[in-house]
């Protein structure tokens, strides 16, 4: 069976070049970078090279990079670490309604523990308004945390502007750039950010590795205590093979970004247009054009439910994801789609295809051949479709 992976926003395969380097550090150059001997030194050197590679991709100095176990931990470290460091200065935090759970849940944890939280809404394209954010600022606001690009609908936020605002007001600004890294330029200076989260497994690097950019001079309280690695910001024996793989993945991402983006943008538009042509009652979620990540396709297909779509696609070897509640085990569908104003019944029937480096025109053709048949079959089963057809004809 043909297998077409279109879930790169969930995770990516590790680039073979990256995997090969990692192997060396698992089995041969396995020293602990804190060790004084040669095994330790060669690991330490490679670790610092990786730090440079990550720093370079985001325009930071290597001393500003703290490695973590992933994007989620980096988000937690940024938010909890800032809140703890500034709790005497203020208790107000601002975020948006379309953040990743790693940000939202962490902010809500703080809210339960004595902080005040304002959650900014988004427009129907999934973009937050700088004006709304400005109005939310209070004298005791200590942290603004807004994602660079949304993982579900690919909407790119006006980060640079928000950063300018935060800087003017002396508020720490954290940005989750997990989805934008490697897809569009991410530069900490241009974006005016103080803290920035990145993750390895979204850019053809390994799972279980991420990093937090911490602007020089900014203090955050560590989350994990111990041996004092990562300049005391993150204790624990460094995951050198993972970090080195992440570094390499960053280097490759920098080299390939322009080509990747062009390639994926083409496939993206082909897929979006193809779906709109072939299936009725379909709505594209998120912005079109430059405000959308080059690799994101998100559509709501009315009268069918997302998980059923996923399962049917999966049986044909196509891997996608959905904003359906049924894929998460809760009753509410995607908070992002609801935040954009979609009604529940439409949000339930949403599908995300996220493209990657390896995808081809043929992959898209295959999806465009199969998806309409699947939708037709499910709609034939659906009591909602009857009604819709009836009322349309009526």
């Amino acid at each position: 069976m043909r297998r077409v992976y279109l879930d790169h926003s969930a995770t990516t395969p590790v680039d073979p070049e990256v995997a090969a380097i990692m192997m060396t550090y698992y089995t041969e150059k396995y020293g602990n970078p804190s060790s004084v001997h040669g095994f330790g030194r060669e690991a330490k050197q490679a670790l610092e090279q990786a730090r440079n590679q990550v720093a370079e991709l985001i325009g930071a100095a290597s001393g500003e990079i703290t490695f973590t176990s992933g994007g989620t931990e980096a988000d937690n470290l940024a938010i909890l670490g800032t809140a703890e460091a500034l709790r005497k200065k203020g208790k107000h935090i601002i975020t948006s309604c379309i953040e990743h759970h790693a940000v939202l849940e962490t902010c809500e944890y703080l809210e339960k523990n004595g902080f005040d939280l304002t959650v900014i809404p988004v427009d129907e394209e999934g973009i937050i308004s700088v004006d709304a954010l400005r109005k939310a600022i209070r004298p005791d606001t200590i942290l603004i945390t807004i994602m660079h690009a949304n993982n579900e609908v690919g909407s790119i936020q006006p980060i640079s502007e928000i950063g300018k605002l935060a800087k003017e007001q002396g508020i720490v600004f954290h940005v989750d750039a997990v989805q934008s890294l490697g897809k569009i330029p991410v530069n900490v200076e241009e974006l005016n950010v103080d803290l920035l989260t990145v993750s390895g497994h979204k850019i053809y690097g390994p799972k279980g590795v991420g990093a937090l950019y911490v602007r020089k001079g900014l203090r955050i309280v560590p989350l994990v205590h111990g041996g004092g690695q990562e300049k005391k910001r993150r204790s624990g024996t460094e995951n050198t093979p993972g970090i080195i793989g992440f570094g390499k993945a960053c280097e490759l991402a920098g080299q390939r970004m322009a080509d990747d983006a062009e390639h994926q943008r083409k496939l993206r538009d082909k897929l979006i247009n193809g779906i709109l042509e072939r299936i009725d009652f379909v709505k594209v979620n998120g912005p079109l054009g430059e405000k959308r990540l080059p690799n994101n396709v998100n559509v709501s297909i009315r009268y069918v439910e997302g998980e059923s779509l996923l399962l049917s696609l999966d049986m044909l070897g196509i891997a996608a994801s959905s904003g359906s509640a049924c894929t998460s085990g809760s009753l509410d569908p995607s908070h992002v789609l609801l935040g954009m104003g979609l009604i529940h019944e439409i949000a339930h029937g949403s599908l995300r295809f996220s493209l990657g480096r390896q995808n081809t025109e043929e992959d898209i053709d295959y999806v465009l051949e199969q998806l309409p048949k699947i939708v037709e079959r499910l709609r034939m089963m659906s009591p909602l479709y009857d009604q819709a057809i009836h009322s349309k004809q009526a």
Binding site: E305, I343, P383
Partner: protein, 125 residues
Amino acid sequence: MYTEKVMDHFTNPRNVGELENPDGVGEVGNAKCGDIMRIYLDIEGDIIKDVKFKTFGCGAAVATSSMVTEMVKGKTIEEAMEISNAAVAEALGGLPPAKMHCSNLAADALHEAIKNYHDKQHKKE
């Protein structure tokens, strides 16, 4: 995630469709929570002669709908009333824990259809 039996019923659902002049129709769920199941019954005497369903919902919702129609065909109304959601799940070899409460409503739809049949009978009398 799903058992083979669930996937079989999802891929080849039994008794999909509607009945022209059903003796009973039952519907549970709503689009908001992501699952709607509608069941149509033809009843002769006490016996369920034919049954069809239409479902909007996830894999578990489709599979339980399909399974319940198989379980009930040819049964008496009394027997049908004794089929529980848990029994349907069991007949499918089990459902993931998260699906047990949210998408496992096919027996409820069946019972609604039987109730609807009784109501209609009542009116005729």
